[in-house]
């Protein structure tokens, strides 16, 4: 019974089904897994598991704990690539359910790890098992929404992926509230918070599992007909996942996503110390926390705004804006820093972060334009390996170059200037790759077995 409920066939929507009931399903899933962006709220408390109020010998250090998040993000990309085809085959309901089990289960395994003070169980639990849940849940609702909104694929995927950005806005205060609630003389509340969050996120994802539907074969929105002459890059054909990643277009898009994410993720990872060091003595840690919050907010809003805008101005033009405007903003940041203008500095970075989020949200619709809808979820999964690569490249570039500059005697306030110019160079590479995008050669188009045309 439960098995048939999860089957793909059970999710086919009846005639007349309101397609606007599907985005909340996607949002429920993405709001849950977006918690990963707020994992840093656990970093300091995890260093005080034995000491409760302070770190004592035997407690884990920040460097060891930092690996939990890194493993989770790396596994997210790998799982999305590996399980993409399976997600397409079994449908969104079963895959969301399995993803929820992994993500929620990852919290529980990690809680056991805290109980026995075994760090490897946190790497395995939140990092590997939870990371698999992240990857599966990330791609599951996206291809479903693209099928429901062929007329507005950018807006639809923007809505879902906005949830991933929004998840952090919920999880950060929720974690603090829960840890404070569970805190006792013998526990700092992290273990109990992990168990509670595992259960909460599993239950919340069930809203998506319960309400997700796939459109029937051949369904299209009432009154909508596909354009007779689609824009240059938009295909009416389908490209299978195994053919897609042999095309130059897949790898051009891989670089486009990687460069866009690298530019944003490096800033996100260092936002708080960066603003404090550039404006030494004028920005307190509390103000820096406000800056980080503002970046998260614009990261979320940019996902919906830019992806929706891409339906009107086209996917390639949207990425052109990301790269051109990004280069302009990054190249002016050192001057803004020297001029000491905090409002201009904040304005530049909230726009940059909106484009970082926008890049994630626009790419599924870009893939749909170039490769069709047939395997878009699986292709999206493989493309997300670019995120894993950028997750390493971005923070490493910012951290190492900053340190190199400081070691050479450059004042901290100016140590980020070179990094900003390197970000410009990365964005230029993305701009060129995006410029090179062309329609996929017909030899890669899918032909059903037995058909020659």
């Amino acid at each position: 019974m439960a098995s048939s409920f999860l089957n793909r066939e059970s999710t086919i929507a009846p005639a007349g089904y309101n397609r606007f009931l599907v985005p909340p399903a996607a949002l429920a899933v993405h709001l849950s897994i977006g918690q990963v962006y707020a994992f840093s709220t656990f970093n300091l408390p995890l260093t005080k598991i034995l000491g409760v109020t302070h770190t004592v010998p035997g407690d884990w250090n920040l460097k060891e704990i930092g690996w939990i998040f890194s493993i989770a993000i790396a596994i997210l990309g790998v799982a999305a690539a590996v399980f993409g085809r399976w997600v397409e085959r079994v449908g969104p309901r079963k895959s969301m359910f399995v993803g929820a089990l992994c993500f929620g289960g990852g919290f529980i395994v990690s809680a056991i790890g805290i109980h026995y003070h075994a760090l490897w169980l946190l790497y395995l639990g939140y990092g590997v098992i939870g990371g698999c849940g992240l990857g599966i849940c990330y791609i599951s609702p996206v291809s479903t929404l693209i099928k429901w909104f062929p007329d507005r694929p950018g807006m639809a995927t923007g809505m879902a992926i906005m949830g991933f950005g929004g998840g952090a806005l919920i999880a950060a205060p929720l974690s603090v509230i829960l840890m404070s609630h569970f805190k006792t003389a013998v526990s700092n509340g992290v273990l109990e918070t992990f168990v509670t969050m595992g259960v909460i996120y599993f239950m919340f994802t069930m809203i998506g599992v319960y309400s997700v539907r796939l459109p029937a074969e051949g369904w299209k929105p009432e009154g909508w007909t596909p354009p007779l002459k689609p824009p240059a890059l938009v295909t009416q054909a389908q490209v299978a996942v195994d053919a897609a990643w042999r095309t130059p277009q897949f790898w051009l898009l891989w670089v486009v996503l990687c460069m866009n994410v690298t530019a944003g993720i490096g800033v996100l990872s260092q936002a708080s110390p960066m603003i404090q060091e550039i404006f030494t003595g004028r920005v307190t840690p509390q103000m820096a926390a406000g800056f980080v919050g503002l970046l998260s907010l614009f990261n979320m809003l940019g996902r919906f705004f830019w992806a929706s805008a891409s339906d009107y101005i086209g996917r390639r033009n949207t990425y052109f804006v990301f790269f051109a405007l990004g280069i302009l903003l990054y190249s002016t940041v050192p001057s803004i820093g020297s001029a000491g203008s905090i409002p201009l500095f904040v304005a530049a970075f909230v726009i940059i972060l909106s484009m970082y989020g926008g890049g994630f949200a626009t790419v599924p619709a870009y893939l749909r334009d170039v490769f069709g809808t047939m395997h878009v979820g699986a292709i999206h999964g493989r493309l997300l390996t670019a995120w894993s690569a950028a997750g390493v490249l971005g923070p490493v570039l910012i951290n190492y170059i900053r340190q190199y500059q400081i070691d050479r005697g450059i004042p901290k306030a100016q140590a980020y200037s070179v990094t900003m110019y390197i970000m410009c160079a990365l964005l230029l590479i993305g701009l060129i790759c995006n410029f090179c995008m062309r329609a996929v050669d017909e030899k890669y188009h899918y032909r059903a077995p037995g058909k020659n045309t």
């Binding site: 709001l31 919920i170 309400s211 406000g290 919050g293 907010l297």
Partner: protein
């Protein structure tokens, strides 16, 4: 169908709105 839609949108909208408000409160410290 309509009531179900409202419940679903509220179920995801309320937590998101709460998170946005909390973040905005935090962001105000910057100014």
């Amino acid at each position: 169908m309509k009531a179900r839609g409202i419940i679903l949108w509220l179920a995801v909208g309320i937590p998101l709105l709460w998170g946005v408000m909390r973040t905005l409160q935090n962001a105000m410290k910057l100014f």
